[in-house]
């Protein structure tokens, strides 16, 4: 399976797709460089296939904690100003973004 790393979908169009999902615009040089490096890394990941783990359950939480909850008690909000002033752009009480078209 050595070739698995060579035919990874991280050719320029594959990397473009992934970058689109991640919302990072890449230059052509970046696509080439990162694509090659990631293909390399993914090739290294192939070793996981041989690990004796087929019968093991997936482990997503390392501690056996469960039912961690808080009571339904509202706090009094601290006001919007201290948050709005963090925004790169704002308009009145809103965080400002370019116009979003949702209408038909």
């Amino acid at each position: 399976m050595k070739d698995a790393s060579k035919n990874q979908p991280l050719d320029p169009s594959g990397i473009e797709h992934v970058a689109g999902l991640a919302r990072i615009r890449l230059t052509r040089e970046e696509k080439e460089k990162l694509g090659a490096q990631l293909s390399d890394i993914l090739g290294y990941m192939e070793k996981l296939k041989s690990a004796p783990a087929d019968d093991l359950e997936q482990l997503s939480h390392i501690l056996p904690l469960k039912n961690v909850t808080r009571p339904d008690e509202p706090s009094s909000p601290a006001g919007s100003e201290q948050y709005l002033r963090l925004a790169p752009e704002r308009e009145g009480g809103f965080f400002k973004v370019p116009p979003v078209i949702e209408e038909t």
Partner: protein, 493 residues
Amino acid sequence: MPAFQALNRLSAHELAARIAAGRATATAAVRDCLERIEKTDRRLNAFVRVDREEALEEAGRIDRELAAGRNPGPLAGVPVALKDLFCVKGREVTCCSRILEGFISPYDATVARKLKDAGAVILGSTNMDEFAMGSSTENSARGPARNPWDLERVPGGSSGGSAAALAADQTVAAFGTDTGGSVRQPAAFCGVAGLKPTYGRVSRYGLVAYASSLDQAGPFGKDVEDLALLLEVIAGHDPRDATSAPEPVPRYRDFLQADPASLTLGLPSRDTLKGMDREVAAAFRAAVDTYAALGAKFVEVELSSLEYAVACYYIVSTAEASSNLARFDGIRYGRRAPGVADLLELFEKSRAEGFGEEVKRRVLLGTYVLSAGYYEAYYGRALRIRRLIKNDFDSALAGCDCVILPTAPIPAFRLGEKIDDPLQMYLTDLFTISINLAGVPAVSINCGFTGGGLPVGLQLVAAPFREDNLIRAAALFEGATAHHLKKPALDDR
């Protein structure tokens, strides 16, 4: 002439005792640190932000408290440095990323809160690999930090600034986060002690997340007693972190005296330890001999799953990171690319301009391993292997108090040496990352030096919530050796 020694050179417990006894002031301690930073940081670049005025003000407040006979806490007047990802109210937190430039945190991380409550004085923020992604502190938007033992070499990473600052006596204590070795490896490279607590031991609330299932905050100390003291302050359950454990916090300083005969160490097989640098291997063997000479017992442990740890880690951590870092989009805070025409540009350009190359690499990798058609082959598979690794540590630690390992297979490397080969860089994390995957605690202490004078780290690993065993074993070694007392000959001019 210890009486005239600058206060910044002291350990945290020594300084705290002096201040509490009225033989030193918080203000003097902070001044000594600031002066040291002033003299050395142009070369080290360990700090990315020094909060001079705030620190002096806080030190003054603590001195007044003490003068009034009140006890401001176990760290009263101790200057500390925080990696640039701990949120401190009213201070800029950037994770050494362009995308967070100008972000002033409106809230305190639980760790920051606890440190303030214990009387510690926050000097400022330390350099790091952007968003904690890296092993050298070269991936910093603020330029690389340097190793005080050799300015041509990296301090390790990602908490390299904290380790370098402490090693250079710019601060008395420092904190970092450890997702795959980011406290222990820089501690090893810089010759200080560093501890990664059990996952869930310290609250993650207010630490900018890299990989949520692996991240833990940990202390850097000048000796093991400092680690015990600092851990006592920051550990404990936090209702704001659902993954923080409701375990009681012992007084870790009670474990500084240990009977060597009661200590059983697990030594991995030769095979596990292959690929180590020759001098690191020698220092490691010498450390094992030291323990043996002290009377500790040894058992051999099998950690064959280490083979898969790097691959497993770079799937789990990047997958989580790809999601954790999605919030950086230039809308609610941080930096927005100028002149964006539409929503897509707002997202894509802000993130393209805001993130550095390593962050992009990991976010893309993480996005890929979670994407449709690949989830099972990569992420799902990695989660199974994570269980394999945890099972390995569970059985190894069932038969001993601590597993003993090198911290890193190599000593500090030269700046730029590995930056263009990410996979080779990742492989240097071999001995640290499996510990995060298993969620167990580990400590790195100085166990000697290479011929070129670079420190070598020894790593001890314990069962979950058995940090007491780490303190016992590490204190025992430290008591029998003098490596930790050696300071880098950093030219003060």
